[in-house]
Symmetry: C2
Subunit: 319 residues, 2 copies
Amino acid sequence: MFRRHYLVAAAALSAGLLALSALADQSKPTPTTQELLAKSGAVEWRQPDPNNLLVIQLSTGRVLIELAPDFTPLHAANIRTLIKQHYFDGLAIVRVQDNFVTQWDDPAGDDGGDPKKVRSLGNAKNTLPPEFTRPIDPKLAWTALPDGDVYAPEVGFSEGFPVARDPASGQEWLAHCYGMVGVGRDNGPETGNGSALYAVIGQAPRRLDRNLAVIGRVLEGMPLLSGLPRGTGPMGFYSQPTQRTVIQSVRLAADIPVARRPVIEVLRTDSTTFATLIEAKRNRRDTFYAVPAGKIDLCGIDVPVREPTSAGTAVHQAH
Amino acid sequence: MFRRHYLVAAAALSAGLLALSALADQSKPTPTTQELLAKSGAVEWRQPDPNNLLVIQLSTGRVLIELAPDFTPLHAANIRTLIKQHYFDGLAIVRVQDNFVTQWDDPAGDDGGDPKKVRSLGNAKNTLPPEFTRPIDPKLAWTALPDGDVYAPEVGFSEGFPVARDPASGQEWLAHCYGMVGVGRDNGPETGNGSALYAVIGQAPRRLDRNLAVIGRVLEGMPLLSGLPRGTGPMGFYSQPTQRTVIQSVRLAADIPVARRPVIEVLRTDSTTFATLIEAKRNRRDTFYAVPAGKIDLCGIDVPVREPTSAGTAVHQAH
């Protein structure tokens, strides 16, 4: 067992009844995420709308992404159009920049490709309004975090996504946390269309907030995007085509027969269990953590996902 | 060029004289890191003390780590003792947990190993005082960041490292930013000794601050630690020995003949160029970034490193 349990809370090994009140009782170790989720109710979980669930089949495995049309509806619509045309099938991961992003798009659109072979966008739009921020929508449930943020006046979660807000301007936007997915573009703010996408694989690059359209979050498969060799070309682009990971297909779950659709559930961010989880992360105290941080940052929380299977419910963190 | 320059500042392409005053002139694009470093003076760079420079030869390439004995002197001394005994030679990367850490140690010390084969620590100590925080040292240069921090009352840089401070308690500590290296331990705070080390490969897990000893920073080779397949065992441990990356050797630069020593330089964090770099990151404004963040978080800044070579000076970010 020597050092095997490094960085693990011994609390995970402790039995005992878990209750919300356990968080207030400092004589007991803080419940782990797994323990809290095991006590959650079925109504606290939701299945993403199949029209918002992207099923990406890489040569190395499956990645699931949930679109966020409440925040970037025009981009979501354009991406759906591209998917229905099978636009992404056969494209590739072309860029992995350490501590920044993994990007996939049409290799022929990069300097290393043959511009004559650039794939047509078909019925999809070539430019879109930026959708970098949107007016704060009071109809969306809002779970605020209490410890502030370096970049924005307010941060919290809506609809399962990390969100930053500025009440003075009345705007809100999805934050560039680990696992969030954005739209690559050229210099002009309207040059993004969803045909080039990136996922954050390092320290949250919050300077991108309000400068790029964020279209959703990776629910499953982050290791397939983050655990790749870094590109050695400028900005982490792969210098050799052989280094790229091929995208075999991208489908909307809604276009897959129900029997073969991925089944995945996301913890509701307006649920009691999610609120309890936030507090547990803020005040983790057990035989390993002697000094609770007493704080949590927006990108320090991964909204939990799980996959119900016939063999039971496998609970895991998104990343 | 289609989308090739996604996320790059067009400023990188712009010519023109760079000066500190350029930052105040909003009609000009903010200089890039590369442009600012190209204008730096030789005295603004330092070579790490060879007694603090770890040279790790993996089967996949070289990793350089700078120890921080001002913050964790007993751990630095113990790690030097282990290295001089060639303790790490033949050990391996045993754990890669997505969005968290890459860890290397003696595989026989893990559950999957043969405990009878656990390597002796020799002259090194088996336990050490925690060194999780230290009294604020007014003799160390301090470059404060102006935008606050979710976790600590004050943050900034000392001696090339990201540091958090609490004036009320008079304590300071190295922060768990991307690329920082810490000491694995069991539950007891004195159970770490430096024979098991981890590097941060995801969103800064600041909850670890003040609970673990941070011994330094990866100066070179982060992609060799971060771009690895994630472990599928509990906590990201590899379930099969064949998945591990072998550590061929770890040496102190001081123990390598001068002619073969790695030459690497780190930008001084008390230099004018570093201060200018911080401001440039806070207020990046160019044809790509229409909305400067106006802020920067502690772990959003990588202290630049460079490798002077006979062919010229290659400047690159640490990670």
